[in-house]
Symmetry: C2
Subunit: 379 residues, 2 copies
Amino acid sequence: MTDALAVLPTPSLVLDEGRMLRNVDRLRRHLAGLGVAPRPHLKTVKSVEAARRVLADGTGPATVSTLREAEVFAAAGVRDILYGVGIAPQKLPRVLALRAAGCDLSLVLDSPAQAEAVAQASRRAGDAVPVLIEIDSDGHRSGLRPEDPAVVAIGRLLEEGGAALRGVVTHAGESYGATGAEALAAFAERERRAAVAAAEALRAAGLPCPVVSVGSTPTAHRARDLSGVTEVRAGVYVLFDLVMAGIGVCTLDDIALSVLTTVIGHQRERGWIVVDAGWMALSRDRGTAAQAVDQGYGVVCDAGGRVLDDLIVEAANQEHGIVAVRPGSRAALPDLAVGTRLRILPNHACATGAQFDAYAVLPADGTGTLAHWDRFRGW
Amino acid sequence: MTDALAVLPTPSLVLDEGRMLRNVDRLRRHLAGLGVAPRPHLKTVKSVEAARRVLADGTGPATVSTLREAEVFAAAGVRDILYGVGIAPQKLPRVLALRAAGCDLSLVLDSPAQAEAVAQASRRAGDAVPVLIEIDSDGHRSGLRPEDPAVVAIGRLLEEGGAALRGVVTHAGESYGATGAEALAAFAERERRAAVAAAEALRAAGLPCPVVSVGSTPTAHRARDLSGVTEVRAGVYVLFDLVMAGIGVCTLDDIALSVLTTVIGHQRERGWIVVDAGWMALSRDRGTAAQAVDQGYGVVCDAGGRVLDDLIVEAANQEHGIVAVRPGSRAALPDLAVGTRLRILPNHACATGAQFDAYAVLPADGTGTLAHWDRFRGW
């Protein structure tokens, strides 16, 4: 593998396809055991080639975080997409255009104002746009409490106004701050209870609720019972990262994403090795800063992907990374000459991936011939 | 201005050209008073259209942080470029290609290993590549102390090996953590003293040192004496940001960059307004976190650019921003309906700009007709 990477410019974004396929398969099997299918979130990979390997048959179901993602993946043949961010009324013309082109795009919202806008757009287009009401299961972000009478009121606004109530959706974003199987299983149960309670309230009011959608990478992997749930969303598990390793959802060996970099200098008396991956390549994400082990801007590996003992990117400027031994460690700083290539495991795969326009892919077939997969971005 | 922005999708990156031109002119006049010309750093704007307005006559001198920047700006007619990150030997073929195409590209380094690589490449190409030796003036990152005998040794390696010693370069990155005119003037003087001392050591050894290059946005604006200095580098001043406002180098009214966003929801009992600019649009940069006033992920303005009283982006997920009143403030949360447009002033212009592929430009001519300037990225 090292040989194939030797020809790349640095910094480059490296994806280990074998690890990615293993991650995708692991969650699919876990959820199958609980009787539920995944609806993978494609905001992490933002790549058509990667999505083809993440989705069961390449056509969906999928979740996205931007309409640009919906447009790119729909053009690539994905037919069942949930746009998981609360809809702004100004975005409805793009939603209707995607639906008119044959993509079953569904929306998320949590206010009567949004529901009225979607209902009005549905009537005008003669297309009952499907909507999931967002439920707040952990006080993290958006959504209504399941017992809030607005849940049923919005359901009625949608159904009577010409849109289609497809179900309820929740995401326990706070689970990223919990650690260990027990704590994460408890978050998974909070997601399930909140979503199922909201679905029951809608059904008790005579409204339809075919879909009960929950999920985040931590809760998806630690859920023990998904009774009443119809689908699970997760995204970062496809590539994994140091934040997920820090809360115990994966090991370093599962992380499929790394940034290839080159040593460009030393400050020997300070114990620093300077590399050409700064925060422009690694991203400014410091998601491990609040965890038990702060990984700085990333864990340093050799070019073959072997983790170097207690070596992290301690600080980052725009195009410079400062590699040093982790504070408190007795590990020796390795002697790495100018020109040496290293790979950095990222704190957050979504953030680091977004800094690049393509993946250099170490293929799962073991041939060692690099593949090139485009990434996209924007809204 | 509000009308022109009403047609943009959100999030979008907005550049106020009038503010930008004012920022560029202010520094040019300050440096002219000290008898020195600027060598603007184009890593902040990463745009050919913006660079044409930043550079005195559009052809240079300029500083860049990646070879991709050098290649794009050289293709657009910039003829004098300093690549300000320590050279990795593997990058020399691209350097030679740019020079062969007529761009006077100069390099930075701080080790004999790099100097030997550049000398060897110079001899093979029959092109004496110009080099500036990096000097460490504040312990921040790379470079040699001015009194280090390696400065002269490297100068000799370059001159005798076939490269060209063009001078010395330093950057007081630590100045970003200082506040107020006195502290920043002291950092400017540290930069000047270190660079001039290194230049004198080279000249005393019979080596040439025509260029003495210093600078950062904070020190460039607060320098009081630049005797012995021949050029000043600065980049973020073109657009400015909350970090620079926090250390007293600009006011909020100088910040030329903002992210246009739309209200997509509320959590009224928590005092939250949810917008469609998360960290994917604002970047993960939290540069004001360590300052006297923590601005969260940015300061909130109305669509016309007027700062709203004590309103900040308190938290951010990938595509969601949580707007709230600053902790400790008694300001009331404004009533902003779903669909309302806002503009967010960023912590760090370099990081936020990099999240977008283009600027929507509010033109300085006051016509209100938006211009579109492409941005680029990559290495």
